[in-house]
């Protein structure tokens, strides 16, 4: 067979497949998104709440350094709190906008599908 004839021949042979049997053979052979984060999870992440227990030193005899770091966190609490509030406000507004757009796209897709 010549290469130019191969595709037509393959199509002819494939047309003889029984479609339901073929679907059965391929059932489950797909890859789902492996790093897709849902809207609910994003909303949970949107309000940033750092855990104060994670402020620590990993060095040997790091207790004084941990105490110093935690003291600095307390001293700057007003400023970091304001920063976190601004960030959370932005995140939530952005997510709301994304959710609205998702709904709108879905509505349009449904309308188009009839």
């Amino acid at each position: 067979m010549k290469p130019e004839q191969a595709l037509e021949e393959a199509r002819r042979r494939a047309a003889e497949y029984d479609p339901p049997a073929r679907e059965d053979e391929l059932d489950g052979l797909t890859i789902e998104p492996t790093d897709r984060v849902g809207l609910e999870q994003l909303i949970e992440w949107a309000v940033v709440e750092p855990d104060p227990d994670k402020v620590r030193s990993t060095r040997a005899l790091g207790a004084p350094i941990t105490a110093l770091k935690r003291g600095l966190v307390r001293l700057t609490r007003q400023q970091t709190g304001d920063l976190l509030a601004q960030q959370a406000r932005f995140n939530l507004h952005l997510l709301t906008r994304v959710a609205e757009l998702e709904e709108r796209v879905k509505r349009l897709e449904d309308e188009r599908a009839g």
Binding site: M1, K2, P3, A6, L7, E9, A10, R11, R13, A14, Y17, R22, E25, L26, G28, L29, T30, I31, E32, P33, T34, D35, R36
Partner: protein
């Protein structure tokens, strides 16, 4: 003449780094000077210096290899030297959002940045006409490929058996990054149908570096469900040559390719090729591959059966494959590269 090669990143196995090293060998053979620098260097990569070592004389030419988002190279564009930008292609982000958002973001930025970089260089070229067209250019500088490391059919015990028609089963191969746009998932689906309908003992080997651990895991699970699939990474050149030597069909269903070097590797190893005509594939493969744009895995499964079993078809594809390899001989590619660089450095340039 001095030519400095500039890369966004240099690694031990990536195609662009290997390409830059091959180009440097040519420069040295021509008696040209210059050095090769990269913004990021894998400790295992040899032959590259940090970007801060880039100190070209005013008459030196810069050859910028572009293959990824490279904000650190922006400063290079401010240098007064003549510059040639060679695009090796950046994957469209849409394939990656569901599996690696940070990489998708880098690809998105990389593709946006590419046109800006091209506009700021004196000459923009692609490794294929497809890549060049993305830059609005018609300058094509194909890669310098040395395929002598591939053992031809008949030079290994496996291939000797295969040539005598004693191969107990078909062995399919695909070489390329284990990533969504390469569509190893579609290759597995078509292979599963082929295996059940034609060759229960058939094997599919997928060789490549994974996008990330999550995607590799998903691909392995898919391969396990289909059966007969093995996935391999970080192979040496000799090991890869062995995979080509035992392959009976090379199956490439990738949705996006700038050039697709593995096609030429398969041609050189005398393995018949089935490929999806995406991006630069039709240009690289010419008439030497069975190009199939059908989405129906049954069509691809039947095409595999034909490519694996029809000796007349196999012989003709192998013959045409030799012609493609000759067309992309490194000597020819080197002449084009030299002409482009000499034109760029010529005082009579426009």
């Amino acid at each position: 003449m001095n030519v400095w090669q500039v890369l966004s990143g240099a690694g031990p196995v990536d195609a662009v780094s290997r390409q830059a090293l091959a180009v440097r060998e040519r420069f040295e053979a021509w008696g040209w000077g210059g050095r090769d620098v990269a913004a990021l260097i894998d400790p295992r990569a040899k032959g590259f210096e940090p970007l801060k070592g880039l100190r070209p004389a005013p008459a030196d030419v810069l050859l910028i290899h572009y293959s990824a988002y490279a904000p650190r190279l922006r400063a290079v564009l401010d240098l007064p030297n003549r510059k040639l930008l060679l695009s090796h292609n950046v994957t469209p982000a849409r394939w990656l959002w569901d599996h690696d958002p940070p990489i998708a973001l880098q690809c998105e930025l990389g593709r946006r940045q590419l046109s800006e970089y091209a506009a700021r260089c004196d000459l923009a070229a692609g490794v294929s006409a497809y890549n060049a067209a993305e830059l609005g250019s018609d300058v094509v500088l194909p890669p310098l490929l040395n395929l002598s490391w591939l053992r031809m059919r008949g030079q290994t015990p496996e291939s000797q058996v295969r040539m005598r028609g004693q191969t107990p089963h078909s062995h399919l191969l695909f070489v390329g990054r284990l990533a969504p746009h390469k569509r190893q998932d579609e290759a597995i689906r078509a292979f599963a149908l082929y295996r059940r309908r034609h060759a229960p003992e058939a094997r599919l080997t997928l060789v490549g570096e994974p996008l990330n651990e999550g995607y590799l895991r998903a691909l392995r699970e898919l391969g396990d469900r289909a059966g007969g699939v093995e996935i391999e990474s970080s192979l040496s050149q000799e090991q890869l040559a062995g995979r080509y030597a035992r392959a009976s069909v090379f199956l490439c269903l990738s949705e996006h390719e700038g050039f697709c070097v593995p096609l030429l590797e398969a041609f050189a190893a005398e393995v018949p090729v089935i490929a999806r005509p995406s991006g630069g594939v039709p240009e690289t493969a010419g008439d030497a591959a069975l190009l199939v744009d059908d989405r129906d895995p049954a069509v691809i499964a039947e095409l595999i059966a034909l490519a694996a079993g029809d000796s007349e078809l196999r012989a003709e594809l192998i013959r045409r494959g030799h012609e493609r390899v000759a067309r992309y001989a490194p000597e020819r590619a080197a002449v084009k590269l030299r002409e482009a660089l000499e034109r760029l450095s010529s005082p009579a340039r426009s």
